[in-house]
């Protein structure tokens, strides 16, 4: 009997100890990135050096923040996320080379980028052939998703291509409406940089401006490799225009605005998201007050969902600003993370052999509350959340003056 009792007590203690050991191994879920298991790489392609690096580094850092956040939350059980950022220098040829490099890395299951629509054109087929999902936070050229004839017949181009940014099909006309109806400017001089983004945006602006009764008093193109725009500035002054619309990016738009004012034409320069950066104001100088830019999304300060992102970005210690596309980059990365999560959960907790194809398919159906609002994609791969804001230069900074939502 005594022996039996001893056995009973010993067994009981052992069982209790085992139970406590098992219970002690429960993960609190906030241990950080040490989730072990599989490593999934999210590729990033953006201009990390050169004139547009302010935007590109904001994209890279925001994707990094999304990956770290997912790891910290152990958001996909058994998967640790890393990023692999490549510099395209805003050049299509570099972008295509980077696309091939990312495709060759089997750990890459999704790519965020690029910034420029012209770079995206060179990458789309490379990614699509590899069934590797690509989500741009910044491309606004409508043809990327809806085909060259998007104005008459929309046609999905690549199943692997998505974007979180609104397209120029809305951005250009929205700017035209603001310039004509709110700013009361009726005579425009239109300039572009002949690139996919700039020429496309100028085209959609011009079409709408004419439809609503505005007059185009002159057009010209600039060479983005120079900074001397005095000839076109003189043409603007002599045209009698009361506003300039520029399709292009801030490295050229800033000096262009400065030189137009210096020529004696004290009229506002208006552009798209490509000029919406503090660097534009620095380059354009004090006379840029009153210049306008449209940009994708609602002002960050009106988005409750963006507050956490802004705080986390600051806490992350990144040297560069998240800039115009930070929130959209975070959401693009998170869409990929959601796609990976779905692929893993549908395959008994492991990455499937055809993980790239499965992640691409899952991204088509994601729906979550992101930094910029509800994130999901339509049948063309475009963001369903289509908001835009007009910003004006006031006291040396961009200030939101009007926001719009496309609900068609």
């Amino acid at each position: 009997m005594r022996q039996r009792s001893l056995i009973a007590i010993t067994a009981a203690l052992a069982a209790g100890a085992l139970t406590l050991t098992a219970c002690g191994s429960r993960d609190s879920g906030d241990k950080g990135s040490d989730s072990g298991g599989t490593t999934v790489v999210i590729g990033v392609d953006a201009p990390l050096t050169g004139d547009l690096s302010a935007l590109g580094l904001g994209i890279k850092n925001s994707v990094d923040l999304a990956a770290k956040t997912a790891n910290k939350k152990n958001y996909v059980d058994g998967v640790k996320f890393e990023i692999k950022a490549l510099d395209d220098q805003a050049q299509p040829s570099s972008g295509q080379q980077n696309a091939s490099t990312l495709v060759a890395d089997k750990d890459v299951l999704g790519v965020v980028g690029p910034l420029n629509s012209s770079v995206a054109e060179s990458m789309q087929k490379v990614f699509d052939d590899a069934k590797l999902v690509q989500i741009s936070p910044a491309n606004t050229g409508p043809a990327l998703t809806q085909g060259a004839n998007w104005q008459t017949k929309k046609e999905r181009q690549y199943k692997s291509y998505f974007r979180t940014a609104t397209t120029d099909a809305i951005q250009g006309p929205f700017a035209a409406q603001y310039v004509f109806n709110d700013a009361k400017k009726k005579k425009v001089f239109v300039i572009d940089d002949k690139k996919t983004y700039g020429a496309g945006l100028a085209s959609t602006f011009t079409a709408e401006f004419k439809k609503i009764g505005g007059q185009v008093v002159g057009t010209d193109h600039i060479d983005p490799d120079t900074k001397d725009f005095s000839a076109v500035a003189t043409k603007v002054k002599n045209s009698g225009a009361d506003v300039v619309y520029y399709g292009g990016e801030y490295p050229q738009a800033g000096p262009l605005s400065k030189q137009i004012k210096a020529s004696g034409a004290k009229i506002p320069v208006v552009g798209g998201d490509g000029i919406y950066d503090p660097t534009f104001i620095k380059l354009a100088g004090a006379n840029s007050a009153g210049d306008l830019a449209t940009s994708v999304g609602a002002p960050v300060e009106t988005l409750a969902s963006a507050k956490q992102f802004v705080a986390d970005y600051k806490a992350g210690g990144y040297k560069e600003e998240y800039a115009a596309y930070g929130g959209y980059s975070y959401d693009a990365a998170w869409a990929i993370i959601e796609g990976v999560k779905k692929a893993v959960e549908d395959n008994d907790g492991k990455l499937p052999d055809d993980a790239r194809a499965k992640v691409t398919a899952a991204v088509q159906n994601v729906s979550f509350d992101g930094v910029t609002g509800k994130v999901s994609f339509d049948e063309f791969g475009d963001a369903t959340n289509k908001q835009l804001t007009v910003y004006a230069v006031e006291n040396g900074a961009w200030k939101a003056v009007k926001s719009g939502t496309f609900t068609g």
Binding site: A11, E208, T405, G408
Partner: protein
């Protein structure tokens, strides 16, 4: 961490044991359960104790329930982020109405947050005016959607474009967080409907 134990039969679903058979057969047919009762009891007690300690030690760090407090205004959504306005279709004008008056139905919905009041609806052209039914201001609570009829009146055809590609309405929204004016771009169906109505209104006007 998410291990699921064997599924236990629910009440009344246990399969009856075949008659005449008992657990434990052969030489040692004395009920083993009876023989091992002290051991089993001690094991059970220890496991229960350990499980209790385990649950206590790993309990979520939940503070004692506090009385619910309304969210601070800074935590409430801006009205433009929770309101959606979509185009439904043309609305039949009252019999005998002049062609310079035409109407459309819109659907306004509020996704979340506090009640939203629409204080003003306008459109950008000087030669046209807009009235709403219900008349502004009107309120809509979160989770609700309501049909609005906008009636447009063309007073001066020369200042109204007949082929606007991206027409919109400016809607002033107010909730306890903020007052915002938001442009709702109602899309190509609205653009076509508006264009058709303007062509009718202004062809009659010129004649």
């Amino acid at each position: 961490m998410n291990a699921i134990g064997p599924v236990e039969p629910g009440e009344g679903t246990a399969v009856p044991r075949p008659a005449g058979r008992r657990p434990g057969t052969g030489r040692d047919r004395r009920p083993t359960a009876l023989r091992r009762r002290p051991l089993a009891a001690a094991l059970t007690a220890a496991l229960l104790l350990a499980a209790g300690v385990c649950l206590y030690a790993t309990r979520p760090d939940v503070p004692s329930p506090a009385p619910p407090t309304p969210p601070a205004p800074s935590q409430l959504p801006f009205p433009a982020q929770v309101v959606d306005v979509t185009f439904v279709g043309p609305h039949a004008p009252p019999p005998g109405a002049a062609p310079q008056f035409f109407a459309f139905e819109l659907l306004l919905s509020v996704d979340a947050g506090p009640e939203v009041t629409v204080t003003r609806v306008s459109q950008p052209y000087a030669g046209m005016s807009v009235a709403t039914a219900p008349r502004t201001p009107f309120r809509t609570r979160a989770g609700a959607a309501r049909t609005i009829v906008i009636t447009l009146h063309v007073t001066e055809c020369e200042t109204v474009p007949e082929n606007d590609g991206l027409p919109f309405l400016d809607v002033t929204l107010r909730n306890t967080r903020a007052i915002q004016e938001q442009s709702f771009i109602l899309g190509p169906r609205y653009a076509h409907a508006l264009s058709r109505a303007l062509q009718v209104a202004c062809s009659n006007d010129s004649g």
